[in-house]
C-alpha cells in the first residue's frame, strides 16, 4: 500500500490533473471575482476549445501547441460577443449583487445549452479523439507521455504568469483591487468596466486553452464540459470565491485527493468524493477552505 502512495507515477498524474483543475478554476475565478457572474458555461468553453483544437489538428495538421493562441482567440471572441450582447447590460442595469448572480446563472445556463447543442448539431454527439505527442518518456522509472508533460508545463507557465501579472504589474494590481472591493476600486480611479471586460475575455481565453490541453489526452464530446464546470466550482469554493491564489492551491489539492482516493478505493467513489468534499466544506466553512471571509 505504501508503495502505491509514494510512487512517483501517481504523484505525476495528480500533478497533471491538479494543474489542469487550477487552470480551469482560474478562468472561472477571474470572471466571478471581477463581475460576480456565475459562469456555468465555463466547461462548455473548454469543450469549444477542445473541438477547435481537434479540427485544426485533423484538417490542417496544425499542432495543438501551435494552435493555442488561435484557440484562445476563438474562446475570447465568444466572450466578446456575449459581453456586448448580454452581460454589459446586466452589469450596468442592475445594482444588487444577488440579482446579478442569480440572473447570470440563468443566462449562462442558456448559453451552455446553446453551445452544447450547436456543437452536437454541427459535429454529431459522438466522442472523438486524436493522437498527439503520445510517445512515452522515462525518467528514472517515471513514465510520462509527451502530451501530459506538455499539459503540465503549459498550465504551470500560465498559472505563474497570471499570478505574477496580478501581483506585480500596475494593470494586474488594479484587477486584484477590483476583485477585493469594487466600490473602493472605483473610488481610487480604476476604470472598472474596462477591467471587467478584460477579465471576462481572459477567463474565456483561459477556458479555451484548457480545452486544447484536455483534448490532447482525453476523448472530446459536445457534453464533456459539465463535469469540468462542476470541478471548477468545487475548486473555487474550496479556495474561496474570487480568491485567485486560493483557487490555484485548491485545484492542486483536488487533483491529488481525486487521484489518491480513486487508487485507494475505487473509481465508483470519484463523484461521491467530489460532491461529498464540496458539500462538507460548504457546510463547515462557507467562506472556503483557504479563503478569507468575504460576505456580501
Amino acid at each position: 500500500m505504501t508503495e502505491i502512495l509514494i510512487s512517483p507515477q501517481l504523484a505525476f498524474s495528480a500533478l497533471v490533473l491538479g494543474s489542469l483543475y487550477s487552470l480551469i478554476a482560474l478562468g472561472l475565478n477571474l470572471v466571478y471575482g471581477t463581475m460576480r457572474l456565475l459562469n456555468i458555461a465555463h466547461g462548455d468553453l473548454i469543450m469549444v476549445g477542445a473541438y477547435a483544437t481537434f479540427w485544426f489538428f485533423t484538417l490542417t495538421g496544425m499542432s495543438p501547441l501551435v494552435g493555442l493562441p488561435l484557440v484562445a482567440g476563438i474562446a475570447a471572441a465568444i466572450g466578446i460577443i456575449l459581453y456586448f450582447s448580454i452581460f454589459r447590460r446586466q452589469l450596468s442595469g442592475i445594482d444588487r449583487v444577488e440579482r446579478i448572480e442569480a440572473n447570470s446563472l440563468l443566462l449562462f445556463f442558456g448559453v451552455s445549452v446553446i453551445l452544447q447543442n450547436t456543437v452536437a448539431m454541427m459535429f454529431s454527439g459522438s466522442p472523438r479523439a486524436y493522437q498527439f505527442l503520445d510517445t512515452v518518456y522515462e525518467v528514472s522509472g517515471l513514465m510520462m507521455t509527451g502530451n501530459r508533460l506538455a499539459t503540465l508545463v503549459i498550465a504551470a507557465i500560465l498559472l505563474t504568469s497570471v499570478v505574477l501579472f496580478l501581483s506585480r504589474s500596475q494593470y494586474g494590481l488594479s484587477i486584484s483591487a477590483l476583485i477585493q472591493n469594487q466600490t473602493a476600486a472605483r473610488v481610487v480611479g480604476i476604470n472598472v468596466s474596462r477591467l471587467q471586460f478584460v477579465s471576462f475575455i481572459s477567463g474565456f481565453a483561459l477556458a479555451g486553452i484548457a480545452g486544447a490541453l484536455v483534448s490532447m489526452t482525453e476523448q472530446i464530446s459536445p457534453f464533456m464540459g459539465f463535469p469540468f464546470t462542476i470541478a471548477a466550482f468545487v475548486v473555487i469554493i474550496l479556495g474561496g470565491l474570487g480568491n485567485i491564489k486560493g483557487g490555484i492551491i485548491a485545484g492542486m489539492l483536488l487533483g491529488f485527493v481525486e487521484i489518491y482516493v480513486v487508487v485507494l478505493t475505487s473509481a465508483n467513489f470519484r463523484s461521491m468524493l467530489i460532491y461529498g468534499l464540496f458539500v462538507g466544506i460548504l457546510l463547515l466553512r462557507p467562506e472556503g477552505l483557504l479563503g478569507k471571509t468575504r460576505r456580501h
Binding site: 445556463f109 442558456g110 462542476i230 460532491y275 464540496f278 460548504l282 457546510l283
Partner: protein, 310 residues
C-alpha cells in the same frame, strides 16, 4: 379573503377548475398518446409550482429540486409490492419533506452562489449515494410490474397540481407568504422588522419538497422501470427552473404558462430535432431573463392593462 384575492386571481381559480376538468377528459377523448403528454404536463406544473413556493418567493434559486423527486421515486420503487401504493406515494412526499427538513438548517445558512451550488451538489451527492447503495445491494435497476394505468396516474397528478397551486395561492396571501417576499427583497431588513427569517425559510423549504416527492413516486410507476440516474437527473431541476422563469416565478399562473410553453415546444421539435429544441430553450431562457424577467404571466398582465386603457 376575497379582498386580497385580486379579480385576476379569482378568475384564475376558475380557469384552474375548468382546466383541470378538461385535462381529466383527455384519456377518454384523445387517447393514450395524449394521456401520456397530459401526465407529463401535469408533472411539470406540479414540480414548477412547488419550486416557486420556496425559490420564487424567497429568491433563493435551488438547483436541487430533483432530489425530492428522486427520493419520492426511490421510496415507491423500493417498497413496491410490499407497501400499498396509496400509502407509498404519500410516504415518498413525507420522505422528501424530511430530507428537506434535515438539510435545511445547514443549507439555508448560506446565500447567493453558495446556496445555488450547494443545492446542486447535495442533489448529486444523494444521487451517487443511493446509486452506490443500490449497486452494493445488487438492485441497480428495478422493474415495477402491475403498476396502475397511466389514466389513474394522471388523475393523481392532477390532484397534486391542484394541491400545489392552492398551497401557493394561500401562502401568497398569508402573513407567512408576505414574510417570504420580504426575505427576497432584503433579508436583513426582514429580520429587523421581526420576520422570523430562519423559521419561515425552513417551513417553506420543507413544504416545497412534499409535492415533488409525490410526483416522483407517481412517475416511477409510469415508467415501470426504476433507474437511479434517471430519476435523479439534474436536467429535471434545470427544466423546472427554466419553466418557472419563462412562465413567471412570482405568479401562481407562471408554472402553468411555463410548463405548457415548454411541453408544446418539445412536442413540436423534440422528436424531429432534439438539439434544435434545446437551442430554442436556451435562447428563450436568455430572452426572458433579459427582456421579461417576470415571465409570460407579467406579459399577459401588461397586455390586459394596455387593452383596457387603449
Amino acid at each position: 379573503m376575497t379582498s386580497v384575492f385580486s379579480l385576476a386571481k379569482m378568475r384564475f381559480v376558475w380557469f384552474l377548475f375548468v382546466g383541470v376538468l378538461l385535462i381529466a377528459q383527455v384519456p377518454s377523448i384523445l387517447g393514450s398518446y395524449w394521456t401520456l403528454i397530459a401526465l407529463n404536463l401535469m408533472m411539470w406544473v406540479a414540480m414548477t409550482q412547488s419550486w416557486t413556493l420556496f425559490s420564487g418567493m424567497t429568491g433563493y434559486i435551488s438547483l436541487g429540486h430533483v432530489v425530492f423527486y428522486g427520493v419520492g421515486a426511490y421510496v415507491v420503487a423500493s417498497t413496491f409490492n410490499s407497501i400499498p401504493l396509496w400509502l407509498a406515494v404519500p410516504m415518498g412526499g413525507i420522505a422528501a419533506a424530511l430530507l428537506a427538513l434535515v438539510v435545511s438548517l445547514p443549507v439555508l445558512r448560506v446565500r447567493g452562489p453558495y446556496f445555488v451550488i450547494l443545492t446542486f451538489g447535495l442533489a448529486e451527492l444523494v444521487k451517487f449515494s443511493i446509486l452506490n447503495l443500490e449497486t452494493v445491494s445488487g438492485n441497480s435497476s428495478r422493474l415495477l410490474f402491475g403498476a396502475p394505468s397511466v389514466e389513474i396516474l394522471l388523475y393523481c397528478m392532477i390532484g397534486l397540481v391542484v394541491f400545489a397551486t392552492l398551497t401557493t395561492l394561500i401562502v401568497t396571501h398569508s402573513r407567512f407568504g408576505r414574510g417570504l417576499t420580504v426575505i427576497r427583497e432584503d433579508e436583513v431588513a426582514a429580520a429587523t422588522v421581526g420576520v422570523p427569517v430562519l423559521r419561515y425559510k425552513i417551513i417553506a423549504f420543507t413544504v416545497s419538497a412534499i409535492v415533488p416527492g409525490m410526483a416522483g413516486g407517481l412517475m416511477a410507476l409510469k415508467s415501470t422501470y426504476f433507474e437511479v440516474l434517471q430519476v435523479f437527473n439534474p436536467i429535471i431541476s434545470f427544466t423546472v427552473v427554466t419553466m418557472a422563469i419563462i412562465g413567471g416565478s412570482g405568479d401562481v399562473r407562471g408554472p402553468f404558462l411555463g410548463a405548457v410553453f415548454l411541453v408544446l415546444l418539445s412536442e413540436l421539435f423534440w422528436t424531429t430535432a432534439p438539439q434544435f429544441y434545446m437551442i430554442l430553450v436556451g435562447l428563450f431562457l436568455i430572452l426572458f431573463v433579459i427582456f421579461a424577467p417576470n415571465g409570460i404571466a407579467a406579459f399577459l398582465d401588461k397586455l390586459q392593462i394596455s387593452r383596457r386603457s387603449g
